[in-house]
C-alpha cells in the first residue's frame, strides 16, 4: 500500500466506522493518516523472506478459564453510565436498518 491516502478513502473509512466528519476534518485526517502510513511503510524495508506469519506477538497460547459463573454487575451499575435508559434497557435511537444480529 502506498504511503498516501486521499480524501475519498478517508470518507469511505469514516462511513464504514459510522463517523461523521466535516470537510475540514477530512482534509486533516487525510494528512495525518498519510503520515502514519508513511511511517509504517518503514517496516517494508525489513526482509521478511522465510519468516512465518505471526498470529500474536506473545509466545503464549491456551489462556482458558473454567466454565464457572461469577457475579455480574447488576442492571443498576450496568446502566449507571448509559446516556439514556428505558426501564432496565439501554435506550438508543431507533435502529433503522436492523441488520444486527451476529
Amino acid at each position: 500500500m502506498a504511503g498516501t491516502i486521499d480524501e475519498a478513502q478517508v470518507r469511505k473509512v469514516a462511513k464504514l466506522a459510522r463517523l461523521e466528519l466535516t470537510d475540514e476534518e477530512v482534509k486533516r485526517f487525510s494528512r495525518d493518516l498519510a503520515a502514519i502510513l508513511e511511517y509504517i511503510q518503514k517496516l517494508n524495508e525489513l526482509n521478511t523472506d522465510g519468516v512465518e506469519p505471526l498470529a500474536h506477538c506473545l509466545p503464549i497460547t491456551n489462556v482458558l478459564r473454567d466454565d464457572i459463573v461469577r457475579p455480574s454487575l447488576g442492571a443498576e451499575a450496568t446502566l449507571a453510565n448509559a446516556p439514556d435508559r428505558y426501564e432496565d434497557y439501554f435506550k438508543v435511537p431507533s435502529i433503522f436498518d436492523d441488520n444486527s444480529g451476529a
Binding site: L16, A17, A55, D67, L73, A75, F96, D97
Partner: protein, 486 residues
C-alpha cells in the same frame, strides 16, 4: 410459463448456541428470559481496558461438534475482530474466527426420501460471540438488553450442496439432533438456540445454456417451517424474476432478505452500501489456541454414535420400522434407555412398543423426553419380560408403565397390588372352561358345528371364561384349553 429446467442450489449458514454455563469471554451467566441487563459485566459491556478470557468448555464443545461433522480440526486457531456497528454489541466489533476456524472441510449425512441419505459438505465451523437483543416495540427508540451479548455461538457453514427446501429442512433437523446428542446445545428453536441463513440461487437451463440467478440470503430464520418455506418461496421468486428480467449472478448483486412469517414471503432488507466490508483483523487481546494431540483425543473420546447411524442400526439390528427407530433415536437419553433395557433382558420389540406407544404419548403430554419419565432400564426390562411370558396382558403392561412413571414401585409389585397378574394355572383355568361349557350349551353347539356362527361363538365362550376369572386368566391359555375341548 415455468417450463424451464432448473436446479436449486442452497448453502446454509447455521448459528448454534452452545450450552455452556457462562459466556464466551467472561464469567457472566448464560441465562434465557432473565431481567434485562442483569447478566452483564465490564467485559461483555465492552468497557475500555478489560480483557476477554476464553471459556474452555465452549472451545471443547466447538471442537467436539466439528469432529462429529467430520471436519479437519485445526491444531492451531486464533481469533479475529469483525467490525460491527450496532448497539447490541457495544465493543463495535465481534470476536470471531476468520482465517483459522476450529473446523474445516467436513460433511453431514442427512436423511432424504426412501430411507436414503445424502452427504452435504461442511465448509467450516468457527466460534464467535453473539450480540445482545434489540427491542423496537416500546416506542420510537430501540431498547437494548445485553444479557445475550458475548454468548458462545458456533457458526457452521455448508457448501451449496442442498437442492430442495426439504433437504434444507432435513439438514437443520439433523443438525439439531446431532448437537443435542453431543450435549453441546439445547438447540431449542423457541429460545433462538439455532438460527439459519440459507443462500439460495438457481441454475436455469435455457436453449442448452445454463444461467445462474443472483444469490439471495435469507436472514435469521428460527423455525424449521420458516426455513423450508422461505427457500420454497425464493425458488419461485427467483424463477419469476429470471423469466421477467433475465438477470444473472454478478459480483455484488447478492441480496439480503428477511422472512415475513405473517405474509409468508421474503422481504428485501435495506442495506447500507459496503455493509459487508467487515475489515477483519487479528484480535490482540486473545492468544491463539493450540490443540495438542492429547487434548484432541480426550475430546474425541466424548463422541458418540450419531443419531442417523443409530437409527439405521436399529432398523437393521432390531427389524424396527423407520418410524419406531426415529422415535427411539430422537434424543440420546431415550436411545440409551432403550438399549440398556434390551441389554437387561427386555425383548427389543416389546421394549420398543412400550416406549413408542405409552412412552411417547406420556412424554408428549408432560413435555419431556421419554428418558425423563423416570423409568429405569432395569424396571423397563422386567416389565417387558412379564408381558412377554404372559404374566400380564399387553393392556396391563401399559397400565403398569404409566404407574411406574409416578411411583418408585417395582413392576411386579404394581402388578400384584392391582391384581394384574394373569392366572396361568392350567388346572384352575380348565375348571372355569368346563363351567362355561356347561352353562352355555347353545353357544357350544354352534361352535362345535363349525359354519358361520362358529368363530363368533368361540369368541363369546372365551369372553365368558375371562369374565369368570375377573379378567385375570391368561388369554393364550384359555384359548388353548378351550380348543382342546372342541
Amino acid at each position: 410459463m415455468n417450463d424451464l429446467e432448473y436446479q436449486v442450489v442452497v448453502g446454509l449458514e447455521i448459528h448454534v448456541h452452545l450450552a455452556t454455563r457462562t459466556k464466551m469471554f467472561c464469567s457472566c451467566e448464560l441465562a434465557y428470559g432473565q431481567a434485562p441487563n442483569s447478566r452483564v459485566c465490564p467485559v461483555c459491556l465492552g468497557m475500555p481496558g478489560v480483557l476477554p478470557i476464553m471459556n474452555r468448555q465452549a472451545v471443547e464443545f466447538a471442537i467436539l461438534t466439528a469432529m462429529a461433522l467430520n471436519c479437519r480440526v485445526s491444531p492451531y486457531t486464533k481469533w479475529d475482530r469483525k467490525s460491527y456497528y450496532y448497539p447490541d454489541l457495544p465493543k463495535n466489533y465481534q470476536i470471531s474466527q476468520y482465517d483459522l476456524p476450529i473446523g474445516q472441510d467436513g460433511f453431514i449425512e442427512i436423511p432424504i426420501e426412501q430411507g436414503r441419505t445424502k452427504r452435504i459438505r461442511i465448509r467450516r465451523a468457527h466460534l464467535e460471540e453473539d450480540a445482545g437483543k434489540n427491542t423496537h416495540t416500546f416506542g420510537d427508540f430501540s431498547a437494548i438488553d445485553l444479557n445475550r451479548a458475548g454468548s458462545p455461538l458456533l457458526e457452521i457453514v455448508t457448501e451449496p450442496d442442498l437442492s430442495s427446501p426439504a433437504e434444507v429442512r432435513a439438514l437443520a433437523q439433523e443438525l439439531q439432533r446431532i448437537v443435542r446428542y453431543l450435549g453441546v446445545s439445547e438447540a431449542d428453536m423457541q429460545k433462538g438456540h439455532m438460527r439459519f441463513e440459507p443462500n439460495i440461487n438457481l441454475h436455469v437451463t435455457r436453449n442448452g445454456q445454463v444461467f445462474k440467478t443472483p444469490i439471495t440470503e435469507v436472514k435469521n430464520l428460527n423455525s424449521f417451517r420458516s426455513i423450508e418455506r422461505s427457500v420454497a418461496y425464493e425458488i419461485e421468486r427467483q424463477l419469476d424474476e429470471f423469466i421477467e428480467t433475465g438477470k444473472t449472478l454478478q459480483m455484488g448483486n447478492k441480496k439480503t432478505f428477511g422472512w415475513d412469517d405473517e405474509s409468508q414471503c421474503t422481504v428485501l432488507q435495506r442495506e447500507k452500501e459496503e455493509a459487508h466490508d467487515y475489515r477483519y483483523f487479528p484480535e490482540p487481546d486473545l492468544v491463539p489456541v493450540e490443540v495438542s494431540t492429547e487434548w484432541m483425543e480426550s475430546i474425541r473420546s466424548r463422541l458418540c454414535e450419531l443419531p442417523l447411524m443409530r437409527e439405521k442400526r436399529y432398523i437393521q439390528q432390531y427389524r424396527m420400522s423407520e418410524y419406531d427407530a426415529g422415535v427411539l433415536t430422537a434424543d440420546r437419553a431415550t436411545a440409551e434407555l432403550f438399549e440398556s433395557a434390551v441389554q437387561a433382558g427386555g425383548e427389543a420389540k416389546r421394549v420398543c412398543n412400550l416406549l413408542t406407544q405409552s412412552g411417547l404419548k406420556m412424554s408428549n403430554d408432560r413435555g419431556c423426553t421419554m428418558a425423563e419419565l423416570g423409568i429405569s432400564p432395569d424396571k423397563l426390562a422386567r416389565l417387558a419380560k412379564m408381558a412377554d411370558n404372559g404374566q400380564i396382558s399387553a393392556t396391563s403392561a401399559v397400565l403398569i408403565f404409566e404407574t411406574m412413571t409416578q411411583s418408585t414401585d417395582e413392576p411386579e409389585q404394581i402388578a400384584a397390588e392391582r391384581n394384574l397378574i394373569q392366572k396361568s394355572d392350567a388346572g384352575e383355568i380348565e375348571v372355569l372352561v368346563d363351567q362355561v361349557i356347561a352353562d352355555h350349551p347353545q353357544a357350544v353347539a354352534d361352535w362345535r358345528e363349525g359354519g358361520k356362527k362358529s368363530a363368533k361363538s368361540r369368541g363369546f365362550l372365551m369372553g365368558q371364561v375371562i369374565q369368570k376369572s375377573k379378567g385375570q386368566a391368561n388369554p393364550k391359555m384359555v384359548s388353548e384349553i378351550l380348543d382342546r375341548k372342541k
